[in-house]
Structure formats: C-alpha cells, structure tokens
C-alpha cells in the first residue's frame, strides 16, 4: 500500500530523471535506494517531512544540476 503522495514524489523524480545528465537508470536506482531506506516510517510528521525533503530535492538540487549541465554544454558549443 503506497502512500499516494509518496507515489507522486516517485513519479516526479522519474520525470525529472529523464533529463538528468547521469541518466534515468541512475536516477531510478538511487531513488529506489532512498525510498526503501524510509519504507518503515509510520509517524505522520516524519513521513510528511521526508516527502517535503524529496520534493525540495527534486525542485532545487536536481533541476539545478540539469540546468547547469545544459548551460555549460551550450556555452561550449555556441560560446
């Protein structure tokens, strides 16, 4: 039984993972690692915190890596 917000987060990770420089397979592997580490959480607050951390990570860290890589490659090519 997966928490719908957890599933939503996992889908978000995979969607952003498509553009990730290291590749979708890498992202999927790492995501499963992190998600499984937290699979036994029962406290509502802790679950919320973990999901919020995940969302922030996707929105800030992963997007930043993708944008930076793109910027560097394009500047190299068209600089």
């Amino acid at each position: 039984e997966m928490n719908p917000r957890v599933r939503d987060l996992y889908k978000r990770v995979l969607r952003i993972g498509k553009d990730y420089p290291a590749g979708l397979d890498f992202v999927r592997r790492k995501a499963k690692e992190y998600f499984f580490q937290n699979k036994d959480l029962t406290d509502e607050v802790e679950i919320k915190r973990a999901i919020a951390w995940g969302r922030r990570y996707v929105r800030d860290e992963m997007v930043a890596v993708i944008q930076l890589k793109k910027y560097r490659v394009l500047r190299e090519r068209y600089g």
């Binding site: 890589k69 490659v73 394009l74």
Partner: protein, 144 residues
C-alpha cells in the same frame, strides 16, 4: 506576445546518421524544446511577471508529438498554445511564412523566437519573419 518554438533532438543526445545515409536518425530518439526557444519562452514569462505583457501564446510547427513540446511551454507559464500540424521538415522561409499567417490571425504586439535551432543552426527564421511582416527586429538579444 507570440513565442515560436521548435521541437528538436535533445541537446544531450549523440547524433547518429541513418544506416541508409538519408539523414539523421530520429526514430526513438529523445526530442525536446530547442534551448534557444526555451530562452525565448522564459523571457516572455519574465515580462509577463513584471506586468509588461499580458497573454503569452506559443506556437510550433511539427508532427503530432510536437504537442508535448507545447505542453512543456504551457507548464513553464504560457497561456495558450497553437499547434500547426505538419510532418515534413521545414526550412526557415516556410516557417516564417506560416508564422506570418499566425501573426495576422493572433495579432500579437511582439514576437519572440529562439536565435537558432540546434539542429540546423540557421539563425534565419526571426529575420525572415520580420521582413515578411515589415516589422522592426532585434537579433541575438541578450536582454529585453
């Protein structure tokens, strides 16, 4: 403003030539919005956030999957999307002529286009469109 965007092979993909040497392999290859078109969309959104422009319309010419590219632009903040369905590759002059028709229908105040497409690097569509419309143009803009 009207923003023209193009669906191209993703910048990170290693381009391969088709086995029969008739062109570039595009089947099953990752496609996305041309990075310079992305910049055009972002600039239009920035202007909208500042209140300088009101409604952003994005337009693209291409086969059915171009819809995804248009949806990405809508997710970025565009208000409406126009999909001109066409399956063959188009040269800049043809694109400019089609965009001219769109401009005459939508009547935007300004048109933003990406500087060049990363697949053909023509850097021509904007200039041609301006010329066909008899509008002033600013090319290779780094700031609006």
């Amino acid at each position: 403003p009207l923003v023209g965007i193009k669906r191209v092979i993703d910048y990170a993909v290693k381009i391969r030539v088709k086995g029969d040497k008739t062109g570039v392999e595009t089947a099953g290859v990752k496609m996305s919005m041309n990075p310079f078109c992305e910049i055009a969309v972002e600039e239009a959104i920035r202007l909208k956030e500042k209140g300088i422009v009101k409604e952003i319309v994005v337009a693209s010419i291409g086969p059915a999957p171009t819809q995804e590219t248009l949806r990405t632009a809508l997710a970025m903040g565009a208000d409406r999307a126009i999909h001109i369905k066409h399956d063959a590759l188009l040269q800049p002059l043809a694109v400019a002529k089609v965009l001219k028709a769109v401009v005459e229908k939508e009547k935007p105040d300004v048109v933003f286009l990406g500087k060049q497409a990363i697949d053909d690097d023509c850097n021509s569509t904007g200039q041609m469109l301006a010329s066909l419309l008899n509008w002033p143009q600013a090319t290779s803009a780094s700031k609006v």
